[in-house]
Amino acid sequence: MVLKIENLSVSYETDIEVVHAVNDISFSIEKGETLGLVGETGAGKTTTALSIMGLLPERTARVRSGRIEFQENDLLALSEREMQHIRGDKISMIFQDPMTALNPVLTVGEQIAEALILHNTDGYTQKEIEARVEETLELVGIPKERKKDYPYQFSGGMRQRVVIAIALVCNPDLLIADEPTTALDVTIQAQILSMICDLQRKYGTSVIMITHDLGVVAETCDKVGIIYAGEMVEYGTLYDIFEGDEHHPYTVGLFGSIPNLKENARRLHPIEGLMPDPTNLPEGCSFSPRCKRCMEICMKKKPAVYENNGHQIRCHLYDAGMQKAVSENRKEAGEDGR
């Protein structure tokens, strides 16, 4: 097991309010596996990633509870100095926006070399580092002659390749990709995704793919976690989430919201309402105000996790009378044209 997160809760605290960004999230990743974290803006996906990286803003963020175990180390217990050895070397991150993630006054070669120089445990010489930078550039599909170029000389897709090169140069064991293709066009997105997959297969890297695009998830991931208002509402294999019979109502709503290329439904089935305010989460299940199948208990008590063969759902529908819930869900799924 590469990474194991148990009951992680993170909040941002200011004098005025407390934002409950991540609430009791648990998951784990095996070597070479890809986990997709899916959710809407403000669901807590990026906060989860930043807490693994130890990059939460110091002043406001507070990890209220939980454990992040990475290769038998508790990351939350490490000092900043120890964390620096891991960050960028064993765990690295691809940031969302390639336009702002790079330093505009350093050449891309210098920026890629930076990670190597900081984590130079094997005592590479200057020449070896240069060679490694060139090798990495070629790996991500940029001619090595361009290492002396500045970020502004690259297009969006090429810049994202540079960001990926920086993340990969130290051969990390865990790669966190935070919406790596959201800012890119579809044809470039396809190139970048297939590159990430190829590299993963080559080096056995574990990947956390953070995205809101279910298409991207279907193409790259082995396991999927659906996050809503800081909670993991459903977690399972790709097959469980896309083809399984049991679902959290939010997952059903998410699938109903995307236009399907294969079918000709004239109307989408959006989820009514908005995400709850994270400073003021509803009592009970946080999805209850928008849920079509909300029951009385949903507004009072937080649902427990229901598990079936590793497929986890956090919903009261599965408390008791499981079979009934399943058959109803099937029916609803049929109506939604899924």
């Binding site: 809407e40 803006t41 297009s155 969006g156 897709g157 090429m158 066009d185 579809v186 044809t187 470039i188 997105q189 396809a190 190139q191 995704l193 297939s194 997959c197 809101h212 695009d213 279910l214 298409g215 991207v216 998830v217 279907a218 193409e219 790259t220 790709l238 097959y239 896309f242 083809e243 709503g253 998410l254 699938f255 109903g256 919201s257 995307i258 236009p259 399907n260 290329l261 294969k262 000709n264 004239r266 109307r267 989408l268 089935h269 959006p270 989820i271 009514e272 908005l274």
Partner: protein, 316 residues
């Protein structure tokens, strides 16, 4: 064709840049019937937003004709334009930057009415604004709110209300949902489709998201570097794409189903070339896997290959 609401003939828009002439929109022609939607797709920088802005004369076109109900907007005088323009509106891409942060929701929606001097008195104005808010699903209690207090979906509803309040016939939707989350995106798409049915609106729907465009459009136009490379009815273009670029674009969409898991695909190599002083011949030739010598010279014209299906490729 009957009810030809909007007809564009050989529209061109060039920008002068230090490096040369940037061909943002290059010889595009099409027409839209009343109550229909034409979807325009393409990658960033292919000229789709410029096309939308040029049709509304927000950019003065370099050449070509824009016929709205048979009246040419390009040659029309100031008065004539002022009369026609309220009938043509635009919904902008980014609901975060397209609204004035110092105006309340009510002021924002009233602005087009005041500018065009539509209402005779204050009461009528208030009435029209309230109606528009109700149509797009904005609660009355939000009328005194400022845009920064609202989320993206609600802000986009303000943008739609601003476009609708003048009761236009034709709306250019410039990526109206790309800044929104999927569940909100679906709400806005449904709203736009409901409004179209109710008011017989005509849309020019600009987007880079092919699944959205299929959902909302009757006809789809694919653009590449300022040129229209293929135009066909929506279903036809997805079932029978002919231009290599359209094929590549369709193949690149990630499909949310288990079958696409770790699937290998034919990928388009390279990136969009520069639209500044483009070389003669097919603009896609540099990335096209089937490009031949003949593709790199001469003008490639849009031909009708089957009823309503136009394609600009030498090899079809």
């Amino acid at each position: 064709m009957e009810d030809k609401m909007l007809e564009i003939r050989h529209l061109k828009k060039y920008f002068q840049t230090p490096a040369g002439k940037l061909h943002a929109v290059d010889d595009v022609s099409f027409q839209i019937e009343q109550g229909k939607t034409l979807g325009v797709v393409g990658e960033s920088g292919c000229g789709k937003s410029t096309l939308g802005r040029t049709i509304l004369c927000l950019n003065e076109p370099t050449e070509g004709k824009i016929l709205f109900h048979g009246k040419d907007l390009v040659t029309a005088g100031k008065k004539e334009r002022k009369r026609l323009r309220p009938k043509m509106q635009m919904i902008f891409q980014d609901p975060y930057s397209s609204l004035n942060g110092r105006m309340t929701v009510r002021q924002l929606i009233a602005e087009p009415l005041i500018v065009n001097k539509v209402c005779k008195n204050k009461k009528e104005l208030e009435q029209r604004v309230s109606e528009a808010m109700e149509t797009v699903g904005l609660a009355e209690r939000l009328s005194m709110a400022y845009p920064h207090e609202l989320d993206g979906g609600r802000r986009q509803r303000i943008g739609i209300a601003r476009a609708l309040v003048l009761e236009p016939e034709f709306i250019v939707c410039d990526e109206p949902v790309s800044a929104l989350d999927v569940s909100i995106q679906a709400q806005i798409l449904n709203l736009l489709m409901d409004l179209q049915e109710e008011r017989k609106l005509t849309y020019l729907f600009i987007t880079h998201d092919l699944s959205v465009v299929k959902h909302i459009s009757d006809e789809i136009m694919v653009m590449y570097l300022g040129k229209c490379v293929e135009r066909a009815p929506a279903d036809e273009i997805f079932e029978n794409p002919l231009h290599p670029y359209t094929k590549a674009l369709l193949a690149a969409i990630p499909i949310p189903s288990v079958e696409s898991c770790h699937k290998r695909r034919e990928l388009l190599q390279g990136e969009v070339t520069s639209p500044v002083n483009p070389k003669p011949g097919c603009r896609f030739a540099a990335r096209c896997p089937f490009a031949k010598e003949s593709c790199r010279s001469g003008e490639i014209l849009l031909r009708e290959v089957s009823a309503g299906h136009f394609v600009a490729c030498n090899q079809i």
